[in-house]
Point group: C2
Chain length 329, copies 2
DNA sequence: CTGAAAGCGCTAACAG
DNA sequence: CTGTTAGCGCTTTCAG
């Protein structure tokens, strides 16, 4: 049994309300008694019970964070941003991985509700799950996925612009047969980047897409399989815009395996700018996202909503991705 | 105000004790009333309040996980192992990053105590902090760091063996000037791997170490600087064993920048086998650790201790790292 | 099988 | 400045 404010009250022959006040630095406590309380607390190794406090204050000072895959180098950075900013504001993070599993996402959301987290940051598996997030009835911010519901705040990047920028660059560099590799897990994001891809091609007056458009899952072997089968069929793109870096890396791998070169035979541009993209052996051309900052911003938005749940404003922060030109395109 | 068991009790004109029993599937409840309770709970969108429950049961069903750096690809895998196993057992994870900062570690530890987590998994910043972990007075398991305190369970890998295996391999491959690059952040781990390094050299009868031993921090630029300055001084190793893959990657980068080749001029072996080590452009020879499994095992150990805090046995699981031979050595 | 009642540890009026 | 008193929402004896 750990010591409680009651223990220290008994010891000092004062009421435990006073102890509580002293410990919490409330006004209206005799400096004398306060010091005695503090001393006794230290001596008895008192640690406040956040569970009990949470029950009465209705605040747990913890935030729930749901991400699809901590193993994708993109997410640890946002997680760190979230954690750092949350810690500054006195909150801890309950971190959950969905592994792109909607069921899990759903389960975690209701878990968060049970645990009475003060707010949720959700990088959703797919747009369909947004309703689930909303249903939680808690302050909520969407992350790295475009907002569909104007009542809910979000921090995202402009995926259409990202796709457009990447593909426009490819076009100016003279590539003719530009492909798009999307991810099935992340439908909405994929769809938006695809939209940017089409827009760039349309503007350049060559709407011969679809011939080089493929979809697969996030595992990097997929990119390799996809490009490999195109190569062995003899009809392959001379440049591919992959929906994320992991995928792009897979494509590069596939091209090399086929005995071709990057960017000589097939140029590749990715998305995310994960740390390894800048590794000298890789030097992946990619669209960078401010991962860490996105995490921090999401917390800022969430904090706003927590502080003022009445007029939760549904602010939408849209960041612009930046083209990082390296050596694969 | 969300609905409570009292609300549903009132609605049904029964005592809320019965509601509690029904909801928790306790024995001794009329199936009839149980169904009514369940129906009412659903209709009123009842969500149990885990905070209130935690206060009385003295269990929060959450585990604290402290790691030094989520951004190092090694840790997301152990985090995932931890989370998956914890979820199976009904626990959630409070995840904290210390960024190799002892102060932060200390703070998180006492935070966990306040929040009354049921147990803690700690990948400590440095051996000195172990006392801090112990002081928490909670079920505790050390992770990826050798146990020093026989009262505390741990899951680690045999770092001495790892260093020994790596360097012995280098020796059999005919390398003569074998260097060791250690990390200042992770003293103990570094020291152990260094010990293995020495052992291998001693056994081979060439104790000319230290000339090629260097220390730096975990950032991958460090490895590059370190090797670069050795190269420019004209006295550099023909093989280096780096304390982890991130570091090893930096070394490779440095070698290339100096216009030399890997493994032609300088061979490199790392430690961890992070996902990118197997990327075709990298193909890093390294010592693999069962990251995901380590996470799961740590939870198993912790669960044992939670279930039976009386005789917390201090079990020590020592895993063996495995040499993965690829192309950098 | 069900109800009454106590209490987990703490905060927050409300009196003094 | 301090004490008294209600609870927060739930589990858990102890009686019926």
């Amino acid at each position: 049994m750990s010591t409680t404010i009651k223990d220290i009250a008994d010891r000092l022959n004062i009421s435990y309300a006073t102890v509580s006040r002293a410990l919490n630095g409330r006004y209206g406590v005799n400096p004398r008694t306060r010091e005695k309380v503090l001393a006794a607390a230290k001596k008895l190794h008192y640690t406040p019970n956040a569970v009990a406090r949470g029950l009465v204050t209705r605040q747990t000072m913890t935030l729930g964070l749901i991400i699809p895959d901590i193993t994708n180098p993109f997410f640890p950075w946002v997680a760190r941003g979230v954690e750092d900013r949350a810690a500054e504001a006195g909150y801890s993070i309950l971190l959950c991985n969905t592994n792109w599993d909607k069921k899990r996402e759903e389960r975690y959301l209701s878990l968060f509700k049970e645990k009475r987290v003060d707010g949720i940051i959700l990088a959703p598996v797919s747009p369909g799950e947004k309703r689930a997030g909303k249903r939680a009835g808690l302050p909520l911010v969407y992350m790295s996925d475009t907002r569909r519901d104007s009542n809910i705040s979000s921090v995202t990047i402009d995926n259409v612009l990202g796709g457009y920028t990447a593909v426009s660059y490819l076009i100016t560099m003279g590539y003719k047969r530009i492909g798009f590799f999307g991810a099935v897990e992340d439908e909405l994001t994929s769809a938006e980047r695809y939209q940017g891809y089409r827009k760039a091609l349309d503007e350049a007056g060559r709407p011969n897409y679809d011939r080089y458009v493929r979809y697969g899952d996030y595992r990097n072997t997929t990119g390799s399989h996809l490009i490999n089968s195109m190569i062995s069929e003899g009809d392959y793109p001379d440049a591919v815009f992959a929906v994320n870096d992991l995928f792009a890396l897979g494509v590069i791998q596939g091209v090399k395996e086929a005995g071709l070169s990057v960017p000589g035979d097939v140029a590749v541009v990715g998305f995310d700018d994960i740390p390894f993209a800048s590794f000298p052996e890789v030097m992946l051309t990619t669209m960078a996202q401010p991962k860490y900052e996105m995490g921090r911003m999401a917390v800022d938005l969430l904090l706003e909503e927590i502080d003022d749940p009445a007029r939760h404003r549904g602010r939408e922060i849209v960041l612009e991705p930046e083209l990082i030109i390296r050596r694969t395109a």
